[in-house]
């Protein structure tokens, strides 16, 4: 099957490849607002609409609060809706994010990760999407532009089967603006994979005029618990849906991703856990340290929400120590968001690896192989008690 696909090889940035994936999906509605570093994705897509290359209704809204509101309105009507944002734009969507998940709307959103103000910084860290990690959205982080392209396509059936909104995250500039070689699927293959949009994907569409419905009603103390529990159950069921969709995608394209990827962890003593494009940097550090005889590996976490705790525990359990790479600080004195989730995943193990958290690459600071190497060497020194620590979390690249 894979052999039969006639792939188109192109050089594209992350933003360009997202617009291309959206064109192939051909959603009923896109409502988006430009914000760096995601802006080009909206511009490219708007151009495609203007040129008649896609049938989507495009709404150039006046804010991200409105873009998410428009997507919600479209999705409750039974339409397939997509949007894109970054940073302050995601922050402005906040209340609508919760409404999208609570209404169980299969909205797909591309997030070009960027720091939050203030001070003004347009470059990458994960402070924006990490803040939305409890909003009931599925969150998938992308390592490179090829994966980003595939993630956008897979997000459509994932969202529609789970009846949950999906956020596809890609590191700002590192992916959004970096041109890579990508293999694009034929339009008809993507169309077939995502299927025709169905009015009744959301079971109570407002446009089913024969069956009037009220959405977002009052749910007081007598009903809100049951409402939230229903969402809880849907989130618990989501990883299996993600797995199924990935399996179908792999059968079609030969590309296998998985919720996580263990890189050279099988015989490792120490490891790192990381999200997004920094996985590549960590792999390079691991390769170079392996040549020196330091048995290290890296766990790439792709599906961050729902958190694949059992798989994480299984992958990390044999290690002596794990360096968690957090590209955001929770600002609560208790470690970054990824660190806390890794702690949760490992807590019930009879024997746990030692964990230490490194806050890294805020506001687009580069992660050099030397930085990653230093973190892996420090985790070993901490386990061997050659070095001490003042807290569970430290900044990897701060000038003192």
């Amino acid at each position: 099957m894979t052999q039969a696909l006639s792939l188109r090889i192109a050089a594209m940035t992350g933003n360009r490849v997202v617009a291309e994936a959206m064109r192939q999906v051909n959603p009923d509605l896109v409502a988006a607002y430009p914000i760096t570093p995601q802006t080009e994705a909206v511009e490219y897509f708007a151009q495609m609409v203007a040129d008649g290359r896609v049938l989507t209704e495009f709404i150039p809204v006046e804010s991200e609060h409105s873009s998410m509101s428009a997507c919600i309105g479209a999705a409750v009507s039974g339409a397939r809706a997509m949007t894109t944002t970054s940073s302050q734009g995601l922050a402005l969507m906040w209340e609508m994010l919760y409404i999208a998940s609570s209404l169980r709307l299969p909205i797909v959103m591309y997030v070009g990760n960027r720091a939050l103000n203030s001070p003004l910084n347009i470059h990458c860290d994960h402070t924006d999407s990490m803040g939305a990690r409890d909003a009931g959205w599925i969150q998938i982080y992308s390592e490179d532009c090829q994966e980003l392209y595939h993630n956008i396509i897979m997000a459509v059936p994932i969202a529609e089967r789970a009846l949950l909104p999906v956020m596809i995250c890609a590191d700002g500039f590192t992916l959004t603006h970096t041109m890579e070689r990508v293999e694009l699927l034929p339009d008809e293959v993507v169309r077939q994979f995502v299927g025709e949009g169905d009015l009744h994907t959301f079971p109570y569409p407002l446009l089913d005029l024969d069956h009037p419905v009220m959405l977002g009603p009052n749910a007081l103390p007598d009903y809100l618990t049951e409402h939230r529990y229903s969402l809880h159950v849907a989130v618990e069921a989501a990883p299996e849906i993600v797995r199924q969709v990935e399996e179908e995608f792999a059968a079609l394209t030969g590309r296998t991703y998985g919720s996580l990827e263990a890189y050279r962890l099988e015989d490792a003593d120490y490891g790192a856990v990381v999200l997004g494009s920094s996985v590549t940097n960590l792999k390079a550090a691991v390769d170079s340290l392996r040549e020196e005889g330091f048995k290290v590996g890296v766990l790439k976490l792709r599906l961050f929400r729902p958190f694949p705790a059992q798989e994480v525990a299984q992958a990390l359990a044999p290690l002596k120590g794990v360096a968690v790479f957090d590209r955001a600080d929770s600002m609560d004195g208790a470690g970054g968001p990824l660190y806390k989730d890794i702690c949760t995943a490992l807590f019930d193990l009879p024997r746990r690896p030692f964990l230490h958290d490194f806050i890294y690459s805020l506001g687009g600071r580069d992660l050099f192989v030397e930085d990653a190497t230093r973190a892996l060497e420090r985790i070993r020194a901490l386990v061997e008690k050659r070095e001490g620590r003042q807290a569970v979390s430290e900044y990897l690249q701060v000038r003192e």
Binding site: L163, Y223, S230
Partner: protein, 104 residues
């Protein structure tokens, strides 16, 4: 009223039963009850016009007793009545029998 389990509830807490708000008896929220003096009432219908909850039923051009199943006791009818025909009285002065009736 029997409450639905989470499995029985439509997904996203959708409400696919048009007009079901009639089943939600909001009169139980009331702490003040409008009492009409039929001697003073001229059926000018200002109370009917102003009632924000459509709780004043009409028969032809005459108003009937306030629908206590939905009246929340806001007092707008009493404030607007030019003839002082409506008095707000503490709900506690009335027996609990009506509430029991509507709650069943």
């Amino acid at each position: 009223m029997k409450l639905m389990t989470w499995r029985e509830m439509p997904i996203a807490t959708a409400v696919p039963w048009p007009g079901c708000s009639r089943q939600l008896i909001t009169g139980t929220w009331r702490s003040q009850r409008p009492v009409l003096d039929p001697e003073k009432c001229t059926h000018c219908l200002l109370c009917w016009l102003f009632c924000p909850d459509l709780c004043i039923p009409l028969s032809g051009e005459e108003r009937l007793e306030t629908d206590l199943n939905y009246c929340k006791g806001c007092g707008i009818c009493a404030a607007e009545c030019p003839y002082d025909a409506i008095t707000m009285r503490p709900e506690a002065e009335f027996t609990a029998s009506h509430l029991e009736e509507v709650l069943q």
